[in-house]
């Protein structure tokens, strides 16, 4: 994995600090060309991985990269699925079952199973997982997707419910069908590591908040530190600046004092910010 992955929150109006800022960013990136421009700047600064939600608009970015293979010869996507709000809003409108039906590809046995009110066994969750993965992966057809992530809302929801077998189904399917490494995003990293181990997902790629002030590191700062020291997994750090609460230099120098950090995912909207972050990462990771 590359040391730096480019995230997409800034493109889609996600900002954990301010709704105003989120909206300003949504306006700035209203035109997909602005998104592509920033991604191109990042690429030219040496960041070739886009870790992105399977948001409808990412399909347009994917299409652009597909059409310009010469401009982005080694470009790769780390899809993070699904875009959960689309399911949550649908669940309010149509209920949980209605939402599942709405997004499952048409004409499959899944819909039929619901219609018949069948209560089914083992194959079911595995089948649902496969169908939903396929439907989210469509937009990346023909592109490099060496790691495929399951989004934190889904991971943590399944983790809480105890549906940990789903992690295994997801991991196996992503490997078999897409030749990709499975990744998991979570706000509860220590607990997730235990559960992944218990279903035999070995040396997993796990992306979680890791920052100096412990923002959204559930299970506690010390438990995270211990996990980084003692557990076998590949850590991807997100929210390293704690949504802007930490100065960049301090945040990144701290990150590289932690063991086992394989990558940092970050978002930026300007070339100068991208370059600055890249320089800090090169500087502190060299000292690591």
């Amino acid at each position: 994995m590359d040391k730096l992955l480019f995230g997409d929150n800034q493109f889609f109006g996600v900002n954990h600090m301010s709704e105003e800022k989120a909206r300003a960013q949504a306006m700035r990136f209203q035109d997909i060309r602005s998104v592509i421009e920033v991604l191109t700047s990042a690429y030219d600064e040496g960041i070739r991985t886009f870790m992105c939600t399977t948001h409808d608009r990412v399909a347009e970015v994917a299409e652009h990269v597909r059409l310009h293979p010469g401009r982005f010869p080694d470009y790769q996507f780390y899809p993070c699925m699904p875009y959960a709000h689309k399911y949550a809003n649908a669940a309010t409108e149509d209920g949980v079952m209605g939402a599942l039906k709405k997004f499952a590809p048409e004409g499959n046995i899944f819909g039929a199973a619901f219609r018949g009110g069948m209560s089914i066994a083992t194959k079911d969750i595995e089948g649902i997982t496969r169908l939903l993965v396929d439907s989210e992966m469509k937009m990346f057809n023909g592109l490099k997707t060496p790691v495929v992530f399951l989004q934190n809302v889904v991971v943590d929801f399944l983790l809480g419910l105890g549906l940990k077998q789903t992690f295994r189904y997801f991991a196996d399917y992503v490997k078999d069908r897409y030749g990709a490494e499975p990744g998991f995003i979570t706000m509860n990293m220590p607990m997730l590591l235990d559960e992944l181990e218990s279903v035999g997902v070995e040396n997993p790629i796990v992306c979680s908040n890791i920052n100096k002030i412990g923002f959204r590191m559930c299970g506690g700062f010390d438990t995270y530190e211990r996990a980084l020291r003692e557990r076998q997994f590949r850590a991807v750090a997100m929210s390293v600046f704690a949504s802007g609460a930490l100065p960049a230099d301090e945040a990144i120098s701290w990150i590289y004092q932690q063991p086992n950090i394989k990558s940092i995912v970050f978002g930026a909207s300007s070339r100068s910010n991208i370059r600055h972050t890249k320089q800090l990462v090169d500087k502190y990771s060299a000292l690591d």
């Binding site: 600090m17 301010s18 949550a88 409108e93 009110g117 209560s119 105890g162 607990m191």
Partner: protein, 359 residues
């Protein structure tokens, strides 16, 4: 350990199960729903004990508490059954669809010294908690006006097949969305003395409202405008925001931040300057044991569990406080339907005189 069961496995119920199952002080004894499919999945993959009959579950299991997340019209009977058996209750909002019923249930819980809590999770959002603290301290002097808003992209086309699209089942933007800002207004300023100018309008829904507007008047001359729309695609997800204006400043809060303008500094507020002070969720929010979709959802459940352990009946989201919100919602509905107006109905053919008569 608190022995707890969850009833109703829709969007809210499932999310509650995912948080409460891993709470260190809770033993999730069983879940109950009418969907065989969900029950089978949970039972098959997690070994969770499942019921399709609520009363059977209450008879069979020995429970300290239940968490009720069924469609709103079932709340009343389920809450009553649980309280009658001496079980603490966490119930999703809106509490009941009838303000009188809500008050009765509140009295019943109180008479039995049982914890009753309703899922108004915005009272657990750190920025709104800070707003409450500042208002209670009189930070912005005498409050004159409040703007309470909620927007989001729920119903964006004519469709919808769940109970949430049926007004009489407690669906619609009024009960689903407006309930939240109204509940915050109740928390900050108590019960309004009058509700007027209510508009409940459908945009896309056939059987219910998609937007709600109203004017609420509270004691001491405080007025509030409520502006709510759940058919607004320009919002990525639900956004609740409250702006309070007073003689000594202004406070704006949403889930991410609180922006405060104070005309003067106050000794009781050492961390606030005169002029602007902005605090973000990153600094204000307390850590939780488990995170799924926002600290406030976890925090309210933890608070419920701790209230049971300590037998603390003075609950921030008590049945009584939720009954207050239910009352405002029903006043709004009556007002919109012209039921509470003391003025005689006017002929629509004489618009000029209507204006005259309303004066």
């Amino acid at each position: 350990m608190v022995r707890l069961a969850v009833i109703g496995l829709g969007k809210m119920g499932l999310s509650h199960v995912s948080m409460i199952r891993v709470h260190p002080n809770v033993n999730l004894v069983a879940v109950c729903d009418t969907s065989g499919f969900l029950l089978d999945i949970l039972s098959k993959y997690t070994g969770m004990k499942t019921y399709s009959d609520f009363e059977e579950m209450l008879r069979t299991e020995s429970l300290d508490a239940v968490l009720i997340a069924t469609p709103s019209r079932f709340h009343e009977s389920m809450v009553r059954l649980a309280l009658d058996r001496g079980i603490h209750v966490f119930c999703e909002k809106p509490f009941s669809l009838d303000a009188k019923t809500s008050a009765e249930l509140a009295a019943l819980a109180e008479s039995k010294s049982l914890i009753g809590q309703v899922g108004y999770h915005y009272r657990f959002v750190a920025a709104f908690q800070e707003m409450k603290r500042l208002l209670d301290l009189g930070a912005i002097g005498k409050v004159t006006h409040v703007l309470a808003e909620a927007y989001g992209p729920v119903v964006l086309r004519p469709s919808g097949s769940s109970w949430r699209s049926q007004a009489k089942e407690g669906g619609g933007c009024l009960y689903d969305y407006a309930a939240h800002p109204v509940n915050l207004l109740n928390w900050f300023f108590g019960e309004p003395m009058a509700v007027s100018g209510t508009v409940l309008n459908s945009i896309f829904s056939k059987d219910t409202d998609d937007e709600a507007y109203s004017t609420l008047r509270f004691a001491e001359g405080i007025s509030a405008h409520l502006s709510v729309n759940w058919s607004d695609e320009s919002y990525r997800k639900m956004s609740v925001k409250i702006t309070a204006t007073g003689t000594q400043g202004r406070i704006y809060a949403d889930r991410q931040e609180i922006q405060v303008y104070l005309r003067n500094t106050a000794e009781t507020l050492p961390s606030y300057n005169s002029g602007w002070t902005v605090n973000h969720t990153t600094e204000l929010t307390q850590p939780v044991w488990f995170y799924v979709r926002g600290e406030e959802y976890s925090a309210q459940l933890d608070y419920f569990v701790r209230s049971i352990e300590t037998r603390e009946l003075n609950n921030v989201n008590s049945f009584t406080s939720a009954a207050q919100t239910d009352k405002v919602l029903s006043l709004m509905r009556d007002d919109a339907n012209g039921l509470s107006s003391s003025m005689p109905a006017l002929s629509p053919a004489k618009p000029a005189r209507r204006f005259f008569f309303r004066r």
